[in-house]
């Protein structure tokens, strides 16, 4: 870490105000990924500046929203899928019997061994990932960070020919920028489809089960999108991870 704390605080102030661009935005990304998580002082500063950015909204005069607003929200609420729902599960546990070599999955093993007790709500998904990895024909794919993201922020995708599900796992996945969430895309011949709900890592840990027929796609892409948005194509102005998927057997 070559930045001193004065410089870092300057960046965090601009970051909280959404006012960084270009090289500063890149520096902030690096600091947020590499330094802030391990620095209590910077974590506190960031939390304070984020809170301040929320409070500044009160400087604007309150205005009664148009009467139609809440009605439109209520209508949309009925259509909005819920993020964070417990994934459906069941079929995979039955597939766990056979012993299959685990590919180079050190990071994931660490996650499964060390975090389960403190993330019990993810235990079921973790179990299913292990099961998927052991199933015949399972093909772990490393989803590589693009741009300046640290190499260890990569995720692992696991799928198997007879399992119409896809699993994503990572143990050093950075939080998205404020107001943003991650979106998974699957590509086929250059056409991208947003798959499943937006998601966030939990303290860096990413464990996702997604019901989809992976065989129909040839590439995977994770992007940062505005929370609640339904983008028609992947955004390229945030962090991204990509990988090609192996051809179906």
């Amino acid at each position: 870490m070559t930045e001193d704390h004065e410089q870092i605080e300057e960046l965090l102030a601009g970051y909280a105000l959404l006012a960084l661009s270009g090289e500063d935005a890149g520096r902030a990304d690096r600091i947020l990924t590499e330094h802030v998580p391990g620095c209590a002082r910077c974590r506190r500063t960031l939390a304070e500046y984020r809170a301040l950015a929320g409070e500044l909204a009160l400087a604007a005069p309150p205005v009664e929203p148009p009467d139609t607003t809440i009605a439109m929200i209520h209508r949309a609420m009925e259509d909005v899928p819920l993020a964070g729902r417990r994934p459906r599960r069941g079929m995979l546990v039955a597939l766990a019997a056979s012993v299959v070599a685990l590919v180079a999955m050190g990071g994931l093993s660490l996650v499964l061994g060390g975090r389960l007790n403190e993330a019990q709500t993810q235990a079921g998904t973790a179990l299913e990932i292990v099961s998927a990895m052991r199933s015949p024909g399972a093909q772990p794919v490393h989803v590589e960070p693009q741009g300046d993201l640290p190499p260890d922020s990569g995720a692992v995708e696991v799928s198997a020919p007879d399992i119409r599900r896809l699993y994503l796992a990572a143990d050093a996945f950075p939080d998205p920028m404020p107001g943003r969430a991650y979106q998974l895309w699957l590509g086929s011949d250059g056409e991208w489809t947003a798959v499943d709900e937006q998601f966030w890592p939990n303290d860096g840990v990413l464990l996702r089960e997604i019901v989809v027929d992976v065989a129909r796609y040839d590439a995977i892409w994770i992007t940062e999108e505005t929370i609640g948005s339904v983008p028609s194509e992947p955004s390229t102005d945030g962090r991204t991870w990509q990988a090609l998927l192996p051809a179906a057997a």
């Binding site: 605080e9 300057e10 102030a13 601009g14 909280a16 105000l17 959404l18 006012a19 960084l20 661009s21 270009g22 500063d24 939390a47 304070e48 500046y49 984020r50 809170a51 301040l52 950015a53 929320g54 409070e55 500044l56 909204a57 009160l58 400087a59 604007a60 005069p61 309150p62 205005v63 009664e64 929203p65 148009p66 139609t68 607003t69 809440i70 439109m72 929200i73 209520h74 949309a76 609420m77 909005v80 899928p81 819920l82 993020a83 964070g84 404020p178 107001g179 969430a181 709900e197 937006q198 966030w200 505005t226 929370i227 609640g228 948005s229």
Partner: protein, 187 residues
């Protein structure tokens, strides 16, 4: 923690259980503030309404995005609204046209929002605290904060607009944020 912050936490907890009454109560508490900041940033009623809708829907869709360990719900949610408003402005590329109207953190002369809009007492109090804190900033610091926050401008753009070095914008921003933090720090 203030009593109202605790009430927000309770509403948020119920929201996580898909309680629509809790959602409506949060809308009643924060809808005006949300629309106020969205309108100030976007300057357009239609877009501001979309921003507010999107923000509340995002809250409904993913209440777990709020982490009580990281601060008050109010800050989280209004920050979310502000973020979406800035995104909307930048996306629509209206920034340049709006620059001259990039508003002022202080209310217009004689404007007292509390007189026109009914809102909870604690919000009215906090609003006064925020405004009072802003008045303690030197004009040049308040200006860069204003251009970034309500103008939706990047620091590089502010430097360009004001004809000053980027480093000066950063320094002024940091000084302003430090002063506001000290003034608004809650027990």
């Amino acid at each position: 923690m203030r009593e109202d912050d605790q009430h927000d936490l309770e509403l948020h907890r119920r929201l996580s259980g898909r309680d629509t009454e809790a959602f409506d109560e949060l809308y009643r508490r924060y809808g005006r503030s949300a629309y106020g900041v969205a309108l100030r940033v976007t300057s357009q009623e239609v877009i501001a309404q979309e921003v507010v809708q999107d923000a509340f829907l995002a809250l409904w869709r993913a209440p777990e995005a709020f982490d009580a360990a990281r601060g008050a719900f109010r800050s989280f949610f209004l920050s979310l609204v502000h973020h979406r408003a800035v995104d909307a402005v930048r996306r629509e590329e209206r920034l340049r046209k709006r620059t001259e109207r990039a508003s002022n953190l202080e209310p217009a002369t004689g404007e007292d929002p509390a007189e026109d809009v009914v809102e909870d007492a604690y919000l009215r109090v906090r609003r006064k605290e925020v405004r009072a804190a802003l008045t303690t900033l030197p004009a040049e610091q308040r200006n860069v904060l204003d251009m970034a926050y309500f103008g939706g401008m990047t620091q590089a753009r502010i430097a360009e607009e004001l004809g000053i070095p980027l480093g000066t914008v950063k320094t002024r921003t940091l000084a302003a944020m430090r002063k506001l933090r000290a003034a608004l720090r809650e027990e």
